[in-house]
Symmetry: C2
Subunit: 455 residues, 2 copies
Amino acid sequence: MQDSWTTSVAQHGPRRDALETALRSAIRDGRLAPGSRLPSTRALALDLGIARGTVVEAYAQLRAEGYLGARRGAGTWVADLGLSIAPSVPRARPAAPSPRFDFHPGQPDLSAFPRAAWAAALRRGLRAAADSTLGYGDPRGRPELREELALYLTRARGAVADPERVVLCCGFRHGLSLVGRALRTERATRMAIEEPCAPPHRAAAAASGLRLVPLAVDERGARTDLLGELRADAVVLGPAHQYPLGVVLQPDRRAAAVEWARATGGVIVEDDYDAELRYDRQPVGALQALAPEHVAYGGTASKTLVPGLRLGWLLLPPRLLEPVLALREVEDVHVPATDQIAFTELLRSGAYERHVRRMRTRYRARRVRLVRMLAERVPAVTPEGAAAGLRVLLDLPGSGPTARELCELASERSLALYEVAGRNAVLVGYGALPEYDAEAGLRALTDLLATVYAS
Amino acid sequence: MQDSWTTSVAQHGPRRDALETALRSAIRDGRLAPGSRLPSTRALALDLGIARGTVVEAYAQLRAEGYLGARRGAGTWVADLGLSIAPSVPRARPAAPSPRFDFHPGQPDLSAFPRAAWAAALRRGLRAAADSTLGYGDPRGRPELREELALYLTRARGAVADPERVVLCCGFRHGLSLVGRALRTERATRMAIEEPCAPPHRAAAAASGLRLVPLAVDERGARTDLLGELRADAVVLGPAHQYPLGVVLQPDRRAAAVEWARATGGVIVEDDYDAELRYDRQPVGALQALAPEHVAYGGTASKTLVPGLRLGWLLLPPRLLEPVLALREVEDVHVPATDQIAFTELLRSGAYERHVRRMRTRYRARRVRLVRMLAERVPAVTPEGAAAGLRVLLDLPGSGPTARELCELASERSLALYEVAGRNAVLVGYGALPEYDAEAGLRALTDLLATVYAS
């Protein structure tokens, strides 16, 4: 038995580290059984041809760690760790092969992330940053970044943005969770949420402890005219581009939401996730500007840059600021200094807005192309929603396959499409394709649809 | 009234953006009162000397945003936004001037962050990373990083580390919160926690909904021999270097903790926050290795690199893996792809461990220097705790000022020291000083103590 681990020591070279490592793993593997006596330090040192002091130190280390027991006069033995051989966690199922074209409705073109610019911004920003930037900082985020974001939100989204009210977070869903939990501590109990909406948003809102009340959405946006009847303390709205339906909240509906908030003291959580991406006109300004005291505004870089950054921001009404910050102190979840530094640089230099403009042009071209191809080749399928964002909703004719069946047919051709709950429609995320493959992807999609809906 | 905003338009130049911006802010500021009629598009275009189409578009935009109302034949008027002038959030109180020497007990030397190496690692890693790395990814973290971390934890901490069980998080406190909430979903109700401990840890554990039970700590570490009496479902331990007392959990206490976990099915949350920094001997290996099925191990880069990274990791027993991942799906809080990419590179290249070794040498020198200066000049004050980490605990003689009084005296000399709850002692974080100022800081501290305790 001794052989097996002394051999291993010899292989690793006669050093204390190697001896300890070999002993630990021999004990854990059961090659050295609990209770077995170890050779004396002198004998082992002779066997291995190493200094006795090395063995003494190794034994002492393993005693401190609990692998060995020892008593003067009784020598050194293997402690009973009571280890059963640990069954490994079942490996994740082998992932299904990625589809050739994934039309994920919530994902931007990952290949377009400005990698070199981001790395350069970080290098430049880190060189100039004060040491204190790297410590535990303001739970809202770095002042420099909040300043830049406030300017950006004023400029690009028409928001009433005070840097003191900006709070960095890890994306819209995290922001929604923070606001939901803050509302709970302020005794709110009911939150209205658009139906349909993004299921993870519903889960995040529900996890904050609020009772969710569905709010219908029609072609003019959420039915904010019905808010008064719902007795909700808050409502989640996507005014600029509702997910998944793609409708824009119309002026009277915007007014109704604001009136409701003002009359009842209710809070509007504005999901402004992709408002920068509007193709047929200038983006509609943020609802927040109409009622800064009542709107908790949330934005994100997940669509304009990439979701992997986990970078988002809230612009909060004063009464929610303290409760949100109290939660952040406890959960201790913040945006890393590194990404804050890089993003500050990109905002300050204008590179972020240039990137957004470039992507807008690119996504617009894809959308126009898709809509045109559909009109020519698959007139039975109707694109719905505003000319905006990363996706289009396609209403399917009743005569053909169901949305689920269509997704399965697509999957056979290695295309991933996405169903819409409660409607015979699919979401096509043209934004998710890498630019070099966009045309091929749109062709593959229209080929499929043309085959399915050939009349 | 019209003048004031048309002037502003002229200043911004006769473009549609400028017109919209001027209108929005005039309406918000109350310069254009609710109900006031706007000039016709034709009249305004003539006044401003711009194309009528521009005015039409601007009015349409502001109607869409809810600032204006319009009806065919009735013209265009300012909508009633019901805005009261929003009181701004009270600015944060002006921060107290930073102390000349801040001996923060939990902070490393921020000036030592390897900025250039980090930025270079990000650039290199980003260049090679697959696009999918930048999307929504595995909620545990990138496989490459979990692989490197598992190797590191095996090598440096003697842990039994399977990459499948590694979960990235935003620091130890976030990890503790995740484990606490996961335990709640598994019907755990009581968690033992060392007393004293870091107050934010207590807050995070309590916020997870567990009832906290204090566990005493003596000079041999936490009283794990008493765990059986506490009827706890879990216990938080800092075996390698207890915070704030600095004691190391002794072999029999390690054994008692493991026996308790095995006998009761209890979970040990191992806080391994600074174990890499041991100065008098090799670090004691992780407790996790003795009972991988019962220990939720947590580590962090907050002490070895900087807290601003918000980078930590859990190594979980199989039964906690699914519940923790379910929580992460909902809260949607993850470590950004960027930091994961850079950290993977630093681990892979060995640069991380070289950095840790460099910092260990540096902090050891500071500690040795401080202890020697105290022995020579202030023998009345007793340094306590293992030769490890970023801080030392100083027990104060009963005859002099209290710990609070000493902190105030220090503050007068622009030194920040930190009290220990329930003990006449202060924490001195020698690690927090920037290297160029470390000697001066230690001198200023011993000067103060020598004056106070001159006999």
